[in-house]
Amino acid sequence: MMKKWSLIVLSLLVVIALSACSGNSESDSGSANSGGNSGAAKGKITFAFWGAQSEADAIKQAIDNFQKTYPDIKVESQWIQKDYLTKLQTMIAGGTTPDVMLISGGDLPGFANAFQELQIDKSLFSSPSFVDSMSVDGKVYAEPFIIKPKVMAINVDLFQKNNIPLPSQTVPMTTEEFKEISQKLTSGEGASKIFGSEPLWLGNWIYSFGGQFYTDDLSKSTLDSPEAIAAAEYIVSTKQEGIVPNDSEKQGQNMMNWYLGGRIGMFTDFGPWYLPQMADVQNFKWDLVPFPGNGGSKEVNGLALSKNSKNAEAAKLFINHMTQNEEAQKIIGGNKNAYGVPVIPSATSAFEAVAPNKNMQAFVLAAEKQHTQEAQKSTNEINNEMKAIDDTTPIGIGTKDVKEVFPQVAEKINNILQQN
């Protein structure tokens, strides 16, 4: 008898718990209770974005700012902590595409089919290149939202200790100067060796040498160009001269941790996301200078509108507010966790105030002038071919001459581009 009762109680518990697992999702859709500036647009829109907790907090604050201006439009935020593209693909395939999605320029070509084409005035933004980065085949599919450029962080104490004059805060040093300084900064042996720089990344340095990955119309790979090969040979030479950590030294190591620990003089791949970590640095003086040569590459993130949005009018208002409203842009750009550089000139002061004693202007200039990461639709196939660079040349673990490998990789990429 007791066992029967215990079974019944258990079943009831399961039923009660299950009924507690679903919210009344209907109740929060289409809230329209007070007048605002939204005109006819009202109702609910969904907005998906990625990012760490700190970045999500900044975005949620900007959403609150939008809600204050447009109380008739309810924004349901979908913060996707990790594996953003997997979830986005699942939602699109499952027919539950969010109305507005954060998308990076690099991922845009693969998703453009799911987005509406937008008409955007380039002159609203600090640089017309922001809008160009959001285009696929000449059509704009997202509105620029935030820029993540690269600058170089230097260990000022190490420069002074080695009697090296501090680099200019506005004029980028040449690639030759970078190498000379790296040689002077390198000292010691073994576990205490100090390096001029962290291992250099082709994705930044190809632009330093005036090269790029594709032709301007993205129809052909330019990895076989003299500039790309010069950049590759330069990277190999820094490894051979021991002014950057070699493969066994960098294996499993976090290079930012090495910079924070004082073992790296110039950290070249420095994006705004590293600024919160630098705020706690006590053991050495540091500052920011422009990326050497013409180099570095910026990531442009934009807001895209779903092709299937049932509330496109409200979604467009939201996109415009988040990207063009000074207050919203200041909230995002001025977040203490340094989300990125705002896209409109009037809001950049908020970003510079994140680290007032540092040369934040280097980021702002880089955002305007730096080359955008080039993107293709067949990212995975192309990345598979690009692996040959690391596997077979001394840029990675191989021994083959870059002059031999780069044209071969370019040819394979061109074949992929032709097939698509």
Partner: protein, 283 residues
């Protein structure tokens, strides 16, 4: 006599060697965990300079407070507990019932059906993800905890296999005696098979616990609202695309890993018994 002494000393040497190897093994497996605890008590700057050392210079207990207030910890914890306990109940009930049927009801086609069930293990999660997502959308269950709970009540091939192996080894006499006494099949399962299969049920329970407690992809795909998110999603929030708050991530990870460790140690005996009994030791 001397031969016996020699044998004893060889035995001792082998023992020492075994313990030495075990000790080295334990250090290798324990070090990452100790490093995790140590990293959770350091600043990012100290973490960067610490290398292999596991003794923090300044013990920053505040990291724990910071990590656990960075996201709505109690809410995420409650959701994790619900999506762990209910799947355990569901899996234990459904898999033991189905395993019992496969072990005891030898009817035409049951062998084929069993192979069919096992073949579902060959399908990788990536293949079934989108169809399952569409299914739950049609059921109106997206952005709820249902997709993380309901499937457990419909069995899982591996656990069905585990339970069938266990039940196949129980003497048929038990069942026959019960039938003579007037027991039905359901009552036989409930009053004889279930109580006898405690070690196997514990093993299944612990494995489902580990799987559900650490489930990341399920909550990521099905849940959008903060109010239904689980601890694994909370942890992911410390990792940005490029930079990670390693110390806070480790502090939250320590707190989240503790229940798994406590459960494993408290159910260790039953867990091992269940696995070996239902595994390859067929007589």
């Amino acid at each position: 006599m001397s031969v016996k002494k020699e044998r004893n000393s060889t035995k001792k040497k082998v023992h020492w060697l075994a313990y030495l190897l075990l000790l080295i093994g334990s250090v290798v497996f324990l070090y990452p965990f100790i490093w995790m605890v140590s990293a959770s008590l350091r600043s990012l700057e100290e973490l960067a300079a610490s290398g292999m050392s596991i003794w923090p210079e300044h013990w920053r207990w505040g990291n724990y407070a910071k990590a656990l207030t960075a996201f709505p910890f109690p809410q995420y914890l409650l959701n994790t507990v619900i999506t762990t306990i209910l799947p355990i109940i569901g899996t234990v009930l459904s898999c033991s019932l189905v395993g019992y049927a496969f072990a005891r009801f030898k009817v035409k086609g049951s062998g084929f059906l069993f192979v069919l069930v096992l073949s579902t293990m060959l399908l990788p999660g990536e293949v079934t993800m989108i169809p399952q997502f569409i299914l739950f959308k049609k059921l109106g269950m997206l952005d709820t905890l249902y997709p993380l709970i309901v499937p457990a009540f419909f069995g899982s091939a591996f656990y069905i296999f585990l339970m069938r192996q266990f039940y196949s080894r129980l003497p048929v006499g038990l069942e026959e005696a019960a039938i003579i006494d007037g027991c039905g099949y359901f009552k036989i399962w409930r009053t004889i098979f279930l109580p006898l299969s405690k070690p196997a049920l514990m093993a299944v329970g612990v494995m489902v616990f580990m799987g559900s407690w650490n489930n990341f992809m399920g909550p990521l795909i099905y849940i959008n609202s903060d109010k239904w998110k689980t601890l694994t999603l909370g942890l992911a929030g410390f990792q940005g695309t490029y930079a990670t708050d390693t110390n806070l991530l480790m502090a939250a990870a320590v707190v989240i890993t503790l229940p798994c460790i406590l459960l494993f140690f408290s159910a260790q005996k039953a867990f091992m018994e269940g696995l070996t009994f239902s595994g390859s030791k067929e007589s």
